[in-house]
């Protein structure tokens, strides 16, 4: 039995690692959701292998909970999946951030000089609320 448990644990752990790699690579939020489903399933598998090894029934309710929680997670992410334009998916370089900061400061200076209300500093681009939600 110990050999079987070790082999099964190794297979499940390898699946978890592969799912983590996909979770990190993406490229989209939905790919990460799918990888997260695999991760949840591997946790269920690991708990099942442990229960079979130690012959304890206490960990069975964990399986019930996990099978429901994984569902809630993926449905929630799928519900709020939006288009991620190419431009927003990458991290801006230092030069681009400095250019954006300089442009914003210039706009605030101009507003102050002209006596108009000074626009507040916002940390990010305003979100487009017309984004498609399914």
């Amino acid at each position: 039995m110990i050999v079987v448990v070790v082999v099964a644990t190794a297979l499940v752990a390898a699946a978890a690692v592969l799912a983590l790699v996909r979770l990190e690579r993406g490229p989209s939020m939905l790919d990460r959701t799918v990888a997260f489903d695999v991760l949840t399933t591997t946790i269920v598998g690991a708990v099942a292998v442990e229960a079979a090894w130690s012959r304890r029934t206490e960990s069975i309710p964990i399986l019930v909970v996990l099978s429901l929680v994984g569902f809630i997670g993926s449905v929630t992410i799928a519900r709020f999946a939006a288009r991620e334009p190419e431009e927003e998916r990458r991290i801006r370089t230092r030069e681009e951030v400095e250019a954006a900061d300089a442009a914003r400061e210039a706009a605030r200076e101009a507003a102050r000089a002209a006596g108009r209300p000074v626009p507040p500093i916002v940390s990010a681009e305003p979100e487009n609320d017309d984004e498609e939600r399914s």
């Binding site: 499940v12 489903d37 591997t42 598998g45 099942a48 019930v64 993926s74």
Partner: protein, 130 residues
């Protein structure tokens, strides 16, 4: 925890449990490989469904054969029922969200039931891996 005198049937149940556990773990592993290696969202979803239903059922049969108590079998059946109820819904929602956010290439589809309902946003050209 059940204690049974070791005998032919308990040995047989343990061997069966070992076989089922190995099969279930192998299916889980195949899902890991599939989700990493496949090239786009729908293919990855195809890989994910294997351990979610068959792999889970195999693993839980292995656990049930090992535990040999009706309380545990009832709870394990409950897990399978929940999984069978929830995973199609989750897969449907993920697939539909992928379709509507342009992550499904139209030429991949044999049947397209979603476009008449609401046309998808224009396809987003994600870089396909290999």
């Amino acid at each position: 925890m059940t204690h049974v005198e070791p005998g032919f049937w308990t040995t047989l149940a343990d061997v069966g449990a070992a076989v089922f556990l190995l099969l279930g773990a192998f299916l889980t592993f195949s899902a890991g490989v599939g989700v990493l290696r496949f090239s786009h969202l729908l293919a990855r979803m195809h890989a994910v469904t294997k351990p979610q239903v068959l792999g889970l059922i195999l693993l839980l049969i292995g656990v049930a054969l090992r535990l040999r108590s009706w309380t545990a079998v009832t709870l394990l059946g409950l897990v399978v029922v929940f999984q069978l109820l929830t995973s199609p819904v989750a897969a449907h929602m993920v697939g539909r969200a992928g379709f509507r956010t342009g992550k499904v290439a139209p030429e991949d589809l044999e049947v397209d039931d979603l476009s008449p309902d609401r046309p998808p946003s224009p396809p987003e050209r994600l870089p396909r891996e290999e």
